[in-house]
C-alpha cells in the first residue's frame, strides 16, 4: 500500500517535470496519453470491474468532445461553464442509453452498445450544420488560459489525476465491491438482495461520464473534433488498451494507453503497417501475458490479482 502511494507520487512528479524537458513533441505525446489513460480507466470500470463488454465506449468520448466544442464555440459559453456542462450532457446520455443496454446481458448487451455507438457516429456524420459532419468541427474557441501546450498539459494532468482519484475511491467503495460481485456471479448478487441492473446502470453512467471528461479534454487539446473519433474503431482501441495493460488491475489501462499511443506514434514513423504491428502485439499479449502488462509485472513481483 505504501509502496503504491510512493510509486504514484513519483509518477506524478515525473509527469509534472515533463514540460521542463522543452520538447513540444514530448508534451503533446504525454498529454494525449493522459487523456487516453482516463478514457481507458473509465472503460475498465465496465470491463474489469463490472465484466460488461461494451463495444460502444467511443460514443461517450465523442459526445463529450462534440458537446464541449458546441458549447464553447457555437453557443459561446465560458469555458468554466461549458466544460462541466459537456460532462453533464454526456452523463445524461450515458444514463439514458445505459438504461436500455443493461436490460440485456452478455453478447446482446455488447451488440446494443455497438448499435448505440454507431448511432452516435451517424448523428455526428449526418448533422453537418451542428457537428461539421465529415470535415469535423474545426476551430474550437479554446480559452486563452489553455491556449498553450504547456498550460494545457498541466490542466489536463490535474483533471485526469482528479478523475483517476475519484475512480480509485469508487472501485474501493462498498459500491465497487458490489460491482465486482455482480461480475463474479450475477445470480448470487441478486440473491443477496442487490438490484444488479441498477448497479450496472450506475457503472455505465459513471464510465460514460469519465469518458466524456476525456472527450472534452481531447477537444481542447486538438482545437477540433473529428467524426472518426465516434467510429467503432475508437471503442476497439480503448478495449485493446485495457486488455494490453491488464483489466485485472486499476493501473493496467493506464499502462496500456501509454504503451499503445507511444508505439503508434513511433511505429508510424517507420512503417505504414501500424495496424498489423498492433495485431501482433495484441496476439503476443493474449498468449503470453493473459492478465496484461500490469498482471504480468504484478506476478513477477509476487503479488496477487484482486
Amino acid at each position: 500500500m505504501n509502496k503504491s502511494i510512493t510509486g504514484t507520487a513519483l509518477l506524478v512528479l515525473l509527469l509534472a517535470l515533463v514540460p521542463l524537458a522543452g520538447s513540444r513533441y514530448l508534451i503533446y505525446l504525454v498529454t494525449e496519453i493522459q487523456i487516453f489513460a482516463l478514457f481507458a480507466l473509465s472503460f475498465n470500470l465496465l470491463l474489469g470491474y463490472g465484466g460488461l463488454i461494451s463495444f460502444g465506449h467511443a460514443a461517450w468520448f465523442s459526445i463529450g468532445a462534440y458537446a464541449s466544442a458546441i458549447l464553447l464555440t457555437t453557443l459561446g459559453w465560458p469555458f468554466l461553464l461549458a466544460f462541466p456542462a459537456a460532462v453533464a450532457v454526456t452523463a445524461l446520455a450515458a444514463a439514458l442509453i445505459g438504461y436500455f443496454c443493461v436490460k440485456l446481458t452478455e453478447i446482446y448487451f455488447s451488440m446494443l452498445t455497438l448499435a448505440f455507438g454507431q448511432l452516435v457516429w451517424a448523428i455526428a456524420f449526418k448533422w453537418v450544420s451542428v457537428t461539421g459532419g465529415d470535415t469535423g468541427f474545426i476551430g474550437v474557441a479554446v480559452p486563452e488560459f489553455l491556449d498553450s501546450p504547456v498550460r494545457f498539459f498541466y490542466f489536463s494532468l490535474c483533471v485526469v489525476l482528479l478523475c483517476a482519484t475519484v475512480l480509485w475511491v469508487i472501485v474501493r467503495s462498498a459500491y465497487g465491491m458490489t460491482l465486482v460481485a455482480t461480475r463474479e456471479n450475477r445470480n448470487r448478487a441478486e440473491f443477496i438482495g442487490v438490484n444488479v441492473r441498477r448497479v450496472q446502470l450506475v457503472a455505465f453512467t459513471l464510465a460514460g461520464t469519465f469518458a466524456g471528461v476525456a472527450g472534452a479534454l481531447f477537444t481542447v487539446f486538438n482545437h477540433s473534433v473529428f467524426v472518426e473519433t465516434a467510429w467503432w474503431s475508437t471503442s476497439a482501441e480503448v478495449m485493446i488498451m485495457s486488455i494490453l495493460g491488464g483489466v485485472g488491475s486499476f493501473v493496467g489501462p493506464v499502462i496500456g494507453a501509454a504503451v499503445l499511443i507511444f508505439l503508434d506514434r513511433t511505429v508510424t514513423e517507420y512503417t505504414q503497417y501500424w495496424p498489423s504491428v498492433m495485431g501482433v502485439i495484441l496476439l503476443a499479449v493474449l498468449f503470453f501475458m493473459p492478465t496484461g502488462i500490469a498482471g504480468f509485472l504484478n506476478r513477477r513481483r509476487g503479488g496477487t490479482r484482486r
Binding site: 465486482v180 448470487r188 440473491f191 438490484n195
Partner: protein, 251 residues
C-alpha cells in the same frame, strides 16, 4: 403462524407442465423437505418461490403479502434466503469479501460510491464466518476451497440477509459422507439458533428424515403427498413412486 402460503402454483414452459396446482403452507419454525426424483420439478418450484421465474398460475404469499412477480432481490429483502444446488459464490473474491459484500447489500449500502468497503462490517463478517466454521479460511480465494467449504460459504452468504425463511436446494449434493453429516449438523444447529423456517430439497433420504419435521413429495410437477416423516413412510403412493425399499429398511 403460517410463514409461506402457496396457492395453486403452476408453471407451464411452452406446453410442458413443470408444476401443476401445488398448494402448501409452511408454519413458522417448520423444517419442510421436498422429496422427488430427478425432473420432478423441485428446482422449478424453488425458482418460482424466489422470483427467478414467474409462475404461469397461482399465488405465493410470504407472511400474508403476495410475492409472486417480484424480482429475486426484492424477495430476498423481504426475508427469504436461498442457497443453490450448484455452487453459487464469488469465486475470485476472498472468503471474507464473499460474506462482506452480502452484509453491505443487507445494510442497504450497495450504492455507496465513496464509502470504503474494506472497513465495513468486519465484526459481523467474522462472526458469520465463525458460525459456519470458516474463520481460518478468511483470506482464501473462495473458488479454490473444497466443495464442502464452498457450500458452507454459500450458507453464510444466504444468512447475511437475516432470512426468516431459508430455501436450500440440495444442500448436501456432491458432498462426501462426512461432509454431509457435518453439514446437516451445521444446518440443523443454525436453524435452531436463529429460529429459521427451512424449506429444502434433498436426494439423500438420511438427510431428509434427520432434519425434516414435514415432508412433501413432488412427482411429475404435482404434490402427491404431504405430511410428517411417519406419514410419508407409511404412504403407499410414495413408496411406489419414490422410496422403494428405503421405508421398509428404516421402519
Amino acid at each position: 403462524m403460517s410463514v409461506l402460503t402457496i396457492n395453486d402454483l403452476g408453471m407451464n414452459f411452452s406446453g410442458f407442465q413443470a408444476l401443476d396446482g401445488i398448494s402448501l403452507t409452511l408454519q413458522e419454525g417448520e423444517r419442510h423437505a421436498i422429496l422427488g426424483p430427478n425432473g420432478a420439478g423441485k428446482t422449478t418450484f424453488f425458482n418460482c418461490l424466489t422470483g427467478q421465474i414467474i409462475p404461469t398460475r397461482g399465488v405465493v404469499s410470504y407472511k400474508g403479502r403476495r410475492i409472486t412477480g417480484l424480482s429475486p432481490s426484492r424477495i430476498v429483502r423481504r426475508g427469504i434466503g436461498r442457497s443453490f444446488q450448484r455452487i453459487n459464490i464469488y469465486p475470485q473474491m476472498s472468503v471474507f469479501e464473499n460474506v462482506q459484500v452480502a452484509m453491505i447489500a443487507h445494510e442497504g449500502m450497495s450504492f455507496r460510491l465513496f464509502r470504503k468497503a474494506e472497513a465495513l462490517f468486519r465484526e459481523e463478517t467474522l462472526q458469520m464466518l465463525e458460525l459456519v466454521n470458516l474463520t481460518e479460511d478468511e483470506t482464501v480465494t473462495a473458488g479454490l476451497m473444497s466443495y464442502g467449504k464452498q457450500k458452507q460459504l454459500e450458507l453464510a452468504i444466504a444468512l447475511c440477509s437475516e432470512p426468516e425463511l431459508l430455501l436450500l436446494d440440495e444442500p448436501t449434493a456432491g458432498m462426501s459422507p462426512q461432509e454431509t453429516l457435518d453439514s446437516i449438523a451445521l444446518i440443523a444447529d443454525i436453524a435452531e439458533q436463529r429460529q429459521l423456517t427451512l424449506l429444502f430439497t434433498e436426494h439423500d433420504m438420511h438427510v431428509v428424515f434427520t432434519i425434516a419435521d414435514r415432508i412433501s413429495v413432488l412427482h411429475h410437477g404435482e404434490l402427491v403427498a404431504s405430511g410428517t416423516p411417519q406419514e410419508i413412510r407409511a404412504n403407499d403412493d410414495v413408496r411406489t413412486i419414490y422410496l422403494g425399499g428405503y421405508a421398509d429398511d428404516a421402519a
